[in-house]
């Protein structure tokens, strides 16, 4: 099964041309040159991939794990909505 982190890693490898082995949950965003605006851009790409809508991108993210946790929360919120489910890709 593809995890959220796998999906996140896939987008970063594609957009930032970084080696996948360098991308683990503890990887600091600043170590891979992704700043606060870069995180928002990353989350935009993930919104499409996971069919979610980011509501609060102003929060602090330090590691890739922080971003994955945030995406997981949004996925859970989407699943909890009454209308969610039908026709969603995942």
């Amino acid at each position: 099964m593809t995890t959220t982190f796998d999906g996140l890693r896939e987008v970063i490898v594609r957009d930032y041309e970084l080696p996948p082995e360098k991308l683990v949950p503890d990887t600091l965003l600043k170590d891979i040159d992704i700043d606060s605006l870069g995180v928002i851009e990353l989350i935009f790409s993930l919104e499409e991939k996971f069919d979610i809508t980011a509501t609060d991108t102003a929060q602090e993210f330090n590691t890739l794990g922080d971003v994955a946790d945030y995406i997981d929360r949004l996925i859970a919120e989407r699943k909890a909505r009454p209308s969610a489910g039908a026709g969603m890709r995942e």
Binding site: D15, Y16, E17, L18, I32, D33, I34, L37, G38, I40, E41, F44, E47
Partner: protein
């Protein structure tokens, strides 16, 4: 008054990505104008331009590239090249006084175009977070300052087609007046985005594509000229106070000796003979040279009906009888009109012409126009010329006329 040496050159252009390649292509009469990619040309009636070809990934990391509009990519590459060729090692105190002056007409037009696509075409609100920082007019100059730790004045001039000539002229004034030991000055333009191309097309100033040879579509000073051909690129010069350059034994590409600026107030696009002539006179005055001593003019020569006839008349007005003896060429016939970067690119052509004694030709001038009756060096370069002083002109929509004069070192 301080003297101002040119100690570094850098360029990314349709005609080449270093000064030697650029000038070799010009003197060989090789046109860099060609068909735009299908993604753009499908929606255009004018399907030609001077595109620059460079490998951005060889210069920038993937994360950095996502923050740079094409105009800043080209500007950063040309600026780095100019500084490297100058071989200059600035002290911390000098870095605080060394400025970056850049000219650009449309700045990050590609980013703006993409943002509008997202918003209006895709009906999405996911505008790239870097959009503003990529599109803003001063982005390129700011990045160059950051990259090379130059913390003197960092200014962006936007006067359409004379933007980079203004930037270089104003930088020259800073050194001449003793305010700065070194200035990095030039321009960058990346107008080959669909929205920008369509806007130019709507203005009805672009050349009709030559049916037999699209690369020959820009025909400055010819009777059958039909307009300008857009180009993209960036060029920078390192300007250095003469003694500063001499002390470190810098190799010189020439001396910048004159800068004239005037404004046409008749109309937003229509040039005037008086306005252009005044800019030439002011440049000659600031250089303290008699008109007869100019040995080469790199003309503005856009290939539009209005410019080329007015420019010819302005040159006649200033130079009088000696006008017939001055070789004049428009290298736009080969690299296209680089708009905000044009002044810097063409100053480079003028500097290299003086330095090498070679005058690049005006291409595609087969049908003479009685209104354009000067020596435009048609088709073939002239070698072995003794050019002490060369002049280059940049006349802009909005009326800002700029003339720069350089001397062989």
């Amino acid at each position: 008054m301080k003297r101002v040496a040119v100690t570094g050159l850098g360029i990314v252009s349709p005609s080449g990505n270093d000064p030697v390649e650029f000038f070799d292509n010009l003197t060989a009469g090789r046109s860099a104008i060609g068909r735009l990619p299908e993604t753009l040309s499908a929606r255009l009636s004018t399907r030609i331009a001077g595109s620059a070809s460079f490998d951005a990934s060889a210069h920038f990391s993937a994360p950095k590239l996502r923050m740079l509009d094409r105009v800043s990519q080209m500007g950063l590459i040309a600026a780095a090249q100019a500084l490297e060729s100058a071989g200059i090692d600035l002290t911390d105190e000098e870095r605080c006084r060394t400025g970056v002056f850049l000219g650009t007409g449309m700045a990050g037009a590609t980013t703006t175009d993409e943002g509008y696509g997202t918003l209006y075409r895709d009906h999405s609100d996911r505008i790239k977070p870097y959009s503003l920082l990529m599109a803003m007019s001063n982005a390129t100059a700011a990045w160059i300052g950051i990259e090379h730790r130059l913390s003197g004045p960092n200014l962006t001039f936007s006067t359409a087609c004379s933007s980079s000539a203004v930037a270089i002229g104003e930088a020259w004034l800073r050194i001449r007046g003793g305010d700065a030991p070194v200035m990095l000055a030039g321009g960058a333009e990346a107008p080959l985005a669909l929205g920008t191309l369509k806007a130019w097309e709507a203005l009805k100033t672009l050349a009709t594509e030559d049916r037999d040879d699209p690369s020959a579509s820009c025909k400055p000073f010819a009777k059958n000229r039909s307009g300008l051909v857009l180009g993209e690129g960036a060029a920078f010069v390192v300007l250095e106070e003469w003694e500063h350059a001499a002390r470190r034994g810098a190799s010189l590409h020439g001396e910048l000796v004159g800068y004239g600026l005037s404004t046409d107030i008749a109309h937003i696009t229509r040039p005037t003979i008086e306005g252009q002539a005044r800019a030439i006179r002011l440049a000659l005055e600031s250089a303290a040279v008699a008109p007869g001593r100019i040995g080469y003019i790199n003309a503005h020569g856009t290939g539009t009906a209005a410019n080329d006839a007015v420019e010819t008349a302005a040159i006649r007005q200033v130079f009088g009888a000696s006008a017939d003896g001055i070789p004049i060429s428009s290298t736009k016939s080969m690299h296209g009109h680089l708009l905000g970067a044009a002044g810097a690119v063409e100053l480079m052509a003028a500097l290299l012409a003086a330095q090498t004694g070679t005058i690049p030709p005006t291409m595609n001038l087969r049908v003479p126009d009685p209104e354009c009756d000067l020596d435009y060096v048609p088709d073939v370069a002239r070698f072995g010329q003794d050019i002490e002083l060369a002049m280059t002109s940049s006349f802009a929509f909005g009326g800002t006329n700029v003339v720069l004069i350089c001397r062989k070192a």
